[in-house]
Amino acid sequence: MRLTIRESLLAFKRAPLLSALSILTIAFSLFAFGLFALVALNVSTALREVEERVEIRAFVTDGTTRETIETASGDIAAFPEVQNSATVTPEEALAKARKELGEFQDVFDAAVLPASIDIHLKPGFRDPATVKAVAARIQSYPFVEEVRYGEEWVAKLNTIRNIATAAGIALGIAFAAVAVIIIGATIRMAVLARAREISIMKMVGATDGFIRRPFLVEGLAKGLIGGALALLLTYFASSLISTYMMRTTFFTWQLALLGALCGGLIGLFGSALSVGRHLRKI
């Protein structure tokens, strides 16, 4: 193990320029990945905020007693999909309307507005099909006159989220592949630079695993350093955007750590690929 670490360190010392170059390329390709992940994170945060506003509103027929409405609201709150359910009296509805909509400024008679039950669904149950099913179930109460839930809006939101997820996965894979190829190429250069040493090692009876190990450590280290550098760059970019353009959310520290570790894994994978190829040839 000591020899492995010594040989890996020696690789950095012998070819500092090549090492720096490969760390930088890894850092930049992971930076591109990080920027995209940041965009994806912020889009999904924004979408979640919008999603939270998705609500089902059930308008109640005039003359329904308050107790009936409260009981129904309690029943609905017990649905597995429902996060909370609240009754809105005509007075509350009017107060809200007067506050939010200018044309209600002069209306003082609450009787013009129907009472309603406002329902929020739990996260994960906000897709069009579930919303529609819950709405249908609420519609079945005899005193419910009409159920509104912004059908089109729910469907659109869902489409946006699906596209964002698919694009995120595809681009993530593409950037990871680019990083693996780049790391593979730089390790390949390192392998070729040490081809003589490798052939001597083979000659004196070093096993493939033994020869591979320093390169794997080298790849892992380069990946980790590149990953950390990319994280730093992404953080700067994120705070720049936050300061000058718009508020952004940065990764949680767990996610950030995972990103840097991914860099290490990509480094390990890239070097395993190119050393393996070289060893099979000789």
């Binding site: 020899l3 012998r14 003589r196 001597i200 090692m201 000659m203 004196v204 009876g205 070093a206 096993t207």
Partner: protein, 235 residues
Amino acid sequence: MIRFSHVTKEYPRTGTALSDVSFFINKGEFVFLTGPSGAGKSTILKLVYMEEKPTSGEVKVASHYATLIKRRDVSMFRRTLGVVFQDFRLLEDRTIEQNVAFALEVTGAPHGSISPKVSRLLTQVGLGSKSNNFPRELSGGEQQRVAIARALVNDPFVLIADEPSGNLDDRATRGIFQLLRDINSAGTAVIMATHNLDLVRRADLRVIEINRGKLVFDSGETTLAPPGRAPAANG
């Protein structure tokens, strides 16, 4: 110990390198492998240290068969023999002591045993005082001695030398040859490929001659006492 039975080796691009070669080398023998450049000497040596596998026929070295040995076992097998080349193959950025120690380190030798063994070997090849020099500070003959010291780290049963004196002047050649003879008299078999016919004639040792991939002359196995026949067809 080393047996070639009807060995043929063909390369996809260059064609036949060896054709129907058979011989047997005993434990502790000293054998010259001669013949013009490109005759197939290096191919025979590569088959011995199992860098190549025969296209047909069988190569058996110690208890290993070339056609059966697994990749991992080749590494273990190499630790039982030593190989030196015309171009020395030393690592230029390490001292000669480190070059020799390297061969022990990569085979996982216990750390404490490396240094004493390396200095003993360097003394044996006559370089005890130059252990901290770098290869480029040494003459060709001295560099080849380092390579020989490295080949001996694992106490090999056979030392394979591919044109070890090809880059050396007469004096250095004689020195290297004497060193190989000393190693041989300590019990290690030596297979030395060379086209230095003067050396071969003077030495009076077993000669196997290869030409165009065929074995054209073998002065015969030396068993207990070398029969001392000189190569006839070598002029």
